[in-house]
């Protein structure tokens, strides 16, 4: 006897513990099988692009902190690159190294949260998350040393960084660098061969490479589908061309691969920091940039490889002290384009981990 089922609609979010903030999905189910989903955004739309048109170029940096709030330094970095491109500002050598070190530390911190939240969604409620937070606190301590803040750092400036590293920073970083590989090994011991994780994540939510490119997916999600594309390598900004690091990729493009990809990327970030620490020169940390920047009429697109993908700022200038238009390319929003095709045919429980493996921040989706 065939069991007849009828489709019904399940509303998930905007307040749901596994939607990583205030994200909402309208899920159409047939029994427990997902037939269709429609993401609903906008529960954190704060009009950052509109506010940016009323502020000076330097005054926008605090707004960028609050976009993807778990990788604030990277947001500052992308924005400052765009302004420097627009106004033709040259950054001193030492500042470039500081930026790279800070940016890679922030990448590790953000990827730790991404991995922790993914495992949280897999059902390991809060234990891995607290492990990851233990290490994140150490990175946050380092950031507090340089900027005085724990979450919204506002540290980078157009033409450098706001202040030099304090003298205790590099020894503290050395200590962290000696510890971190041991912690990474600990995660691998706990997770890499973990039977539950493999059963939940292997082969689930496969994203083929062609579709990933067609959907403009970027970052670890794209590389986990086997596309070797990393802006740090393929379009090197700042001084990334001086460092020796690999771009890891994974073969299958399923949830487990996306998790592995993030862990591998953390190891590469450690490699970059190691080299940058050895090479860092002394000197000024900020170019002579006027308080109010008047870039010439034109447009510029500055992009970086942030922990979620390609984060870009498209600035249009009309030679005044505020940008005429400031568009943010949000990797979190664009990476969700393929979500619908990835989850159809899977069960509700898989929907949660496929969604978790994409790793989004709602502040960046809605802006």
């Amino acid at each position: 006897m065939a069991v007849r089922t009828e489709p019904f609609v399940l509303n998930m979010g905007p307040v749901h513990p596994s939607t990583h903030g205030v994200f909402r999905m309208r899920v159409t189910l047939d029994g427990e099988v997902v037939v269709d989903i429609e993401p609903v955004f906008g529960y954190l739309h704060r009009g950052i692009e509109k506010l940016a048109e009323q502020r000076t170029y330097a005054g926008i940096i605090p707004l960028t902190d609050r976009l993807d709030y778990i990788s604030s330094m990277n947001n500052n970095f992308a924005y400052c690159l765009a302004v420097e491109k627009l106004a033709g500002i040259k950054v001193p050598e030492r500042a470039e190294y500081i930026r790279v070190i800070i940016s890679e530390l922030q990448r590790i911190a953000a990827l730790l949260i991404a991995v922790g939240a993914f495992l949280n969604d897999c059902g390991a409620f809060f234990t891995p998350f607290l492990y990851m937070f233990r290490e994140r606190e150490r990175i946050v301590d380092l950031f507090e040393m340089v900027s005085g803040q724990r979450l919204t750092y506002n540290y980078l400036r157009a033409g450098g960084v706001s202040q030099d590293l304090p003298e205790e920073f590099l020894p503290a970083l050395r200590k962290f660098m000696d510890m971190m590989p041991r912690f990474m090994d600990e995660y691998d011991r706990l997770l890499q061969q973990n039977e539950i994780l493999i059963a939940r994540a292997k082969g689930v939510g496969i994203l083929p490479a062609e579709q990933a490119i067609n959907c403009s997916i970027s970052g670890p999600v794209l590389r986990a589908s086997g596309v070797k594309w990393d802006i740090r390598k393929d379009d090197p900004y700042s001084i990334y061309d001086r460092f020796d690091f690999d771009v890891p990729t994974q073969p299958a493009g399923d949830c487990y691969d996306r998790y592995r990809q993030r862990v591998e990327e953390m190891r590469q970030s450690l490699r970059i920091i190691e080299q940058a620490m050895k090479q860092i020169p002394s000197g000024p940390v900020r170019a002579e940039v006027p308080h109010l920047i008047h870039p010439p009429v034109g447009e510029a697109y500055g992009r970086i490889e942030c922990p979620k993908g390609e984060l870009g700022f498209y600035l249009v200038s009309d030679n005044s002290i505020a940008p005429y238009r400031c568009h943010i390319r949000p990797p979190s929003l664009i990476n969700l384009t393929a979500l619908r095709d990835m989850v159809r045919g899977w069960k509700v429980a898989d929907l949660i981990i496929i969604f978790g493996s994409i790793d989004i921040t709602v502040g960046e989706i809605d802006r």
Binding site: T5, P7, V9, P14, V15, H16, P17, G21, V22, R26, T28, D30, V35, D36, E38, G42, Y43, L44, H45, R46, G47, I48, K50, L51, Q54, P62, L63, R66, Y69, I70, F129, L130, F133, R134, E137, V140, R150, L151, T152, R340, D341, R344, G345, V362, G363
Partner: protein
């Protein structure tokens, strides 16, 4: 059931969206003035200088020592809240380690993040779903006044006290976990003063 190809949504009901929009517009029109903070009773009590009964003290001790927060983490401050729960700051020292996903099991709402008009009806609903007695801590500048985003009036609610009464305000953008813990301790002091049994009424009887 057959799957529709990409681009053809099965479920794209504009009527539901319109309904949601209507609810938001109604709430926006109704919330022009902030709701006064629920602490008049504190002053009154101090003026009359009435001592609390021992029953009150016992009930308040029970209530303040096991505050269970509901999950309401719209934005950035959430990470400081999680950090406060995390291994270093360890909020459970103050009897509130359990985050509740269901508002019906919670008695404290820590509003960690910017509130937008689109989100406002949902937050108000969560507040109404919480069982009495309940308290609200507004965490961060956005929760107090809209903060850095207050000038985007079209989208951002200037403070949670437009839609729900707030007991304690914790400033900062975002506040440090220590600041949040201090705010919670302030709330616990406030709860300790709460009068559950009205002595005057009992004496009159």
């Amino acid at each position: 059931m057959e799957m529709k190809p990409a681009g053809q949504y099965i479920y794209s009901d504009i009527e539901l969206d319109r309904e949601e929009g209507q609810v938001i517009a109604d709430l926006k029109a109704k919330s022009l003035e902030p709701i006064p903070d629920p602490d008049q009773w504190l002053e009154e009590e101090l003026q009359q200088n009435i001592l609390l009964t021992t029953v009150d003290a016992l009930i308040n001790w029970g209530r303040r020592s096991s505050l269970w927060p509901a999950i309401c983490f719209p934005a950035c401050c959430a990470f400081e809240l999680i950090a406060a729960n995390g291994p270093r700051f360890d909020l459970s020292r103050f009897g509130m380690e359990i985050m509740r996903a269901s508002p019906r099991q919670a008695d404290l709402m820590i509003t960690a993040g910017t509130l937008t008009w689109k989100m406002a009806p949902n937050v108000r609903r969560i507040y109404h779903q919480m069982a009495e007695p309940k308290w609200v801590i507004a965490m961060g500048a956005c929760a107090i006044s809209g903060g850095i985003f207050a000038s985007a009036e079209y989208a951002v609610v200037p403070g949670y006290n437009r839609i729900i009464p707030v007991d304690v305000y914790v400033p900062g953008c975002p506040p440090r976990p220590e600041a949040l813990i201090y705010g919670i301790q302030m709330l616990q002091k406030k709860i300790a003063r709460r009068k559950n049994i009205d002595m005057r009424k009992m004496l009159e009887r």
